[in-house]
Symmetry: C4
């Protein structure tokens, strides 16, 4: 990088930064399976204890709040999904899978997807490139070893994407990434202007439970937003997706969403979606595959 | 601790951290006293002046807002509880008890519980282990000296739990701890995988008045959440507890909850709970004892 | 101060800190003038340009937002008060009065009170004691010189009260202070345990427009709370005061409250107060005097 | 600047700071075109990728969220405006125009205005004066080169106005600035007390989407406010402008407002405005020109 300040940068500095990873052609399909009007992609990032361990923190207090994710939240979530016959995607750090291997096997056994989500929730952009590559590959191996299925998709922790993340994902021949935000609906990723064949199933902080409900005592930087307000936002995002015939993608975290007051909200959201009707609930992998094969 | 970064840690580093203090068997009872459907555990952390003194701060301004807790809030709270014949638990730093000894005696005289809550609201994890042990024991002695009753439970300040807190609590032969978050309902604490016989009556920031109403001028980091929104969250947590036949545990602070606009909210919450019906209001100690004796 | 950490302090260290400035006997009166059920004390801290200058900041942008307070907000506020025949108190830094002398004269001419509010919104606790004394006295002189009336009350900027503030206020023989928070209703201030004869007309961040509406771009630490939510909080505080037969005291800032969306809220609050009825609207000075003469 | 602390400043220090840039005579017109009761000035700051690049940040993740502004948001916004036949103003950094030149040409072709908005969203107050002058002039040239029209107005990034910004704007003979906040309605800018002939079309954080919806993961300092709450605030600001016969000015950012849940809110706001009736929707340039020619 130049030592100039950004307002002094020549075009030869800023343009390659912008072009490194970019949204290519839309993969929004001409139609959805079974004549559905809208696809709904629910996902759960099962970070559990890794959100404490990643900082080198050893506090029994925060680890107990993480254990809640495995002990209380995952069973509640799986029961809710089963009750509505919804298939969803779980993105799981390798360490989470090693602490809770039976949880992952149950998730697979109930028909859901498990995708790559780092080793210990480390930030990609903070890693040396060779270590990022090694970790991403070992994490996939560990999930396959525990679950018996090789993951086909990746979500980077905190959606932190390094300049080499896409190259590693291409080398691993994954079907899709779900970490970027250039559209509401799926698109093909470009690397330095060239089509990669990788599907991006985009995320958004708007459709994430963490900015509303996350709480870090030491920073005290965010209040809990009332679930009723969050429900209103999620409904409006879904309503827009339905009107557009696109995808409603939602990211949640078991230790955040799994509480009584919040599961009631998630249940109301699913009731709203079902009352709207003509929905295809599917895993991220199934949606990515469909989009790749049925893009307009 | 290893000098490696967390993503480089071998399993021999992270697994003992995770296993240090852990949730064991559920102590959710088969039934509640008198055929109640749900237990309600209201608690008040009477921090008062210690929230200023603990920082070495001497500001007459923040101390006046703390004095409000003793002068205005505690009488209002006791009147509200008496009006509904509710027994609750008060967790009291030793310094608070020394500044306001008659307050503690009145609380005991009206049938409520007083539990350990540090010396001056110091953070456990910041103390040398021998000092943490000395302070926890002296705090219990001081409460007994002032109240005439020996406390049987502990809540750590800001729910900050050090690696030795549980060992001290075992050595003191306490009945319960109320500082951890691995479940909604009571459970037995494990230390390094071994059952301890100590009941955990779990807490949650969701069911605490501070994240919604706390305000620190110097940080200006949090707005006041409208009491009507907080009421909605607390009601939803209670409704879930009632549906599960579990415990609805709530943590409040006199100098925070005791204001006119907030006491009105607490009163409305109690009205909602009573309208639902089949409730056992009890102190943390009575609930812990019942759970230990009646676990499924 | 001792070099010990607060949890190591002996009682001889912490008790004098606690006792320095303290709430004494309640001055809540037996009855209000004219048989009113409740006193309403509206106040406006006319900080205007001093909120920028106090930091040594020279930004034309933030200064323009301050000028709004004098150019747009004060005329709107005075019109609203006149329309309801309400007398209120304005706390004015000396520099504000020097930039906007006619504004202060108009406020006095319309029957409102002007009180001391620092020189340039400096924080008392950051000043050497002799400078705090000099500034507080010079500020009173400057207000008297511009307004033709000597102020009888003081509000410290940001309610920051130093260990010598009360001594200066006693030396100046002021009637009241309005910076502390130990009660909802007026009380007499104690200094080191001794009654001072000074009335405290207490304030609260709950009843202040800044924590809800203040915005500092550089910190981006607080969102705007919807005026409808703030209205709910202020109403609940007033309703409690009315039920108690006490004082409803409110602190606002012209450059914050004076915007169209917020003046609409203030107007609705006054409508709610008037619909409740039996109100004595008065300046802080008149309420302090009444309380001193009619305390139970 | 003096080395004295602000509370020690003599009047000769603070008064020139206050007088540097100041609001002069009101330019609120006697009447609006076509007998309209109120002018509505919608604006969009098309920052796109510059909000990442300005920090020297190269993250593909945040750049993807910026690309959303160009790929998804601008087409949605233009469709909404066209559907209601509303003309609006877009303030565009030069780098945005270089990355997305066709977007700017389409905006002009559809009858909207494009104004100056920095080179790469650099903060004016951080620049050496000669560089600020050079950048502001080059940015205008670049917009003219790409759009074929010379801009007549300026909005500084983050409304950060340096002590020399107004002098540069005068030298460039611009019609108006839209970065300051001393009034709700247009006014003439004074420089050191002298009328400049430059129209200020004032902005406000209250009427900006960023404080409610902006989110910075690394700081996690702000939650998303529910669109329904923001709608209430914007409606109240508009209602006040309509009652006053003034201007309702609103600032939005494509990558922030363009999401499904927020465009629904903007659409509802326009419906509310239209239901009120007697509106003149116009570009900032057309409003500034009208005000200059029709001031009372």
């Amino acid at each position: 990088m130049s030592e100039q300040l950004p307002w002094q940068w020549p075009e030869s500095t800023w343009r390659p930064i912008v072009e490194k990873v970019r949204a290519g052609r839309s993969l929004k399909p001409k139609h959805w399976p079974g004549g559905a009007k809208c696809a709904v992609a629910l996902s759960f990032d099962s970070d559990h204890e890794t959100t404490t361990l990643r900082w080198g923190d050893t506090s029994p207090g925060t680890l107990s709040a993480n254990q809640y994710g495995a002990r209380v939240a995952i069973p509640r979530i799986l029961a809710l999904l089963a009750g509505h016959d919804i298939k969803a995607s779980f993105f799981v750090p390798a360490i989470t899978a090693m602490i809770h291997p039976d949880e992952q096997r149950r998730i697979i056994a109930e028909g859901h997807e498990i995708g790559i989500h780092s080793w210990i929730h480390e930030m990609n952009a903070s890693l040396p490139p060779e270590d990022e590559r090694d970790i991403q590959m070992r994490a996939a191996d560990k999930l396959e070893e525990i679950c018996g299925l090789r993951p086909v998709g990746i979500r980077t922790p905190s959606w932190d994407f390094s300049p080499v993340t896409l190259a590693i994902t291409r080398e691993m021949d994954l079907l899709y990434d779900s970490s970027l935000m250039a559209d509401d609906d799926p698109y093909e990723l470009l690397e330095e202007g060239a089509a990669t064949g990788i599907v991006e199933l985009p995320v958004e902080w708007i459709r994430d439970d963490m900015p509303y409900f996350g709480f870090d005592f030491r920073r005290q930087s965010r209040p809990h937003t009332p679930p009723s307000s969050v429900l209103g936002i999620f409904k409006a995002e879904f309503d827009g997706a339905h009107a557009d015939g696109g995808v409603f993608q939602l990211t949640m975290h078991p230790h955040i969403i799994g509480h009584r007051s919040r599961m009631a909200m998630l249940s109301q959201l699913i009731d709203h979606i079902n009352a709207t009707g003509d929905i295809w609930y599917a895993t991220h992998a199934d949606i990515a595959r469909w989009c790749l094969e049925n893009a307009e």
